[in-house]
Amino acid sequence: MLHLSCHTGGRPIWSDALCAFLADDFNKEMQCVGAANGQYALDKIIEESVIAGINAAKLSGNENHDFSSNVNKELDILKPKVETYLASKAQAIFHIPHAKATFMAPKQFVDFQLDVTAAGIELAVAEGFESIEHVKRYTALGFGTDQGKISNINGMAIVAKKLKQSIAETGTTIFRPNYTPVTFDAIAGRNVNSFFDVERYTPLHREHIKLGALFEDVGQWKRPWYYPDDNETMNEAVARECLAVRSGVGLLDASTLGKIDIQGKDAREFLNRVYTNAWSKLPVGRCRYGLMCGEDGMVFDDGVTACLAENHFIMTTTTGGAAHVYQWLEIWHQTEWPELDVYFTTVTDQWATMTISGPKARFLLAKMTDIDLNPESFKFMDWREADVVGVPSRIFRISFTGEQSYEINVPANYAVVVWEKLLEYGQEFELTPYGTGTMHVLRAEKGFIIVGQDTDGSVTPADLNMGWAVAKNKPFSFIGQRGMNREDCLREDRKQLVGLKTKHPNQVLPEGAQIILQPNQPIPMKMVGHVTSSYFSAALGHSIAMAVVKNGINKLGDSVYLPLDNGETVEANICSPIFYDPEGAKQNV
């Protein structure tokens, strides 16, 4: 009971009369009665109990009973007949006296678990460890599995005697939970093994397993990582999948991307405020890429938002950032701009997203739907409603690979049907399912960033050389605008996103490798950046890397050096991070 009081913030109070600690009144709603309150006489215990019972009933808000505040009346009703007898006063022997001084006397154990002796406690005090907490920590008094239940009071009394003060002045250490030790598995319960954390599956999970996919943990999601053929290594599989996309057509399950439905007459205005770029003029049927920053001006998410109707948008977020972005929109709407008429609803789970990408994507899609796929009418960054193998869909012509690319969104209940048909019709084009491994390479070939990999919470849009995605003349100061204009954010030598090309085309830099300007420096070296993304590009036949480098945007062509952990220092040249199809011709055809 005393422990319970301490666990919730109370401090025990010593009673000399009782030779015991009692709970203080820290917890106003906690009432101690009987022995817990130092009361041993039965009639008194009953009286205390009745008072406590009345108080508790009142506190619980039970108004059905008219509790008399007159204790005697309640006691009359209960009429307990008890014999009253007097308990004799408690007597304490904390430390049995000995003819010799304690340090000369035979060992007098106080804490039986940790062999703390009376002499040890007196020595601690003599050395200046006068606080009871110091004594505990110096001697280990009460550190055992009994948590001092057996030894602490005796120990404190010995300290008090040595310091010629009362036990009340000496005080006690604080009782901490647990009262008695509890096993770890009782505490963790069933939240272990596969229940340690939620596993989120896309509607196509079983299909990926059928195809032999390996999975990557992205947040709580299980995403297909790559689909190895027999005996293929990861690098081989990724190279095969990459080439298939660049030369034919690939298929990616992008269902994990966060999707937020936004409706209301002020939806555009809201987008203007939370994205760095402008949304006032995005026509129905079109999509736009946007960057989201915190109030500090640092990028924290990105994605494509499509205008579904004049007052209706669908926003996509990164897989890992979806919950945070949703919360971000809500907090701004509820706390700062409640006057804006807009509703947000998470629809991530409603839509399964299958991305087909590659020069043959349109041929494949043409087999699946009757809508006009002519690039003149269904342009890059357009979206269309379509019937895809009989399933109502929204098709977004956006590209994270730099290829001709269509993201087919279908209601999740029909995802498997569409997936199966894609595989069936895709045979003719050697449709190749690809996972996040390949997705990462393909986007890096195009210099597209992955928030959280190429950014780390200290990167502004300008650092990414994405000033084009920051509107200069929006009437309302968007979130991040002020932050990115602070003194330090305007420095010229900030770390900026660039590409790196190694001298030896086959050398793939390790991601996370640090960059220096002068080789052969003594340690500590002057680091100017690091590699954020790095792969071997099968399509280009050489390695590629993205990196952040101080003032890198002004240093295109310069040599930099990367000292690796094998002792080798690799030379690389700063270049544009867009390695593949810099004109963007392929995604537009």
Partner: protein, 108 residues
């Protein structure tokens, strides 16, 4: 462990349904671009962090998803009250408390 009365759902719920979003009643500058780095930094990072009465913004994340305020004691953990965003009564009390503080804030 808090038992928090959600003023929107109008019943007590266990703490793990909620998410604390930091100090409440922080005023965002109306025109951010007109603020100095100092003013912006104060708004963005500097907090009262008192030992004692504190008003915090919380969200009933696993529930109605609405934000609301909790007025509570950071030392005893007693919750005095929870109230909706449009309840302005505490705002007035807070302004009074603040008028005596921050005497030297402008020197930095």
């Amino acid at each position: 462990m808090f038992l928090i009365h959600c003023p929107i759902c109008n019943e007590p719920r266990s703490e793990d349904e909620f998410h604390c979003a930091g100090e409440g009643h922080i005023q965002r500058p109306l025109d951010p671009m007109a603020t100095s780095d100092k003013e912006w930094g104060d708004y963005l990072f500097f907090r009262s962090n008192p030992r004692g009465t504190y008003r915090e913004l919380w969200q009933h994340t696993i529930g109605c998803r609405k934000y609301f305020y909790i007025k509570r004691n950071t030392e005893t953990y007693q919750i005095y009250k929870t109230y909706k965003l449009d309840d302005k009564s505490e705002r007035v009390a807070l302004d009074k408390e603040h008028s005596n503080k921050n005497k030297f804030g402008d020197l930095l």
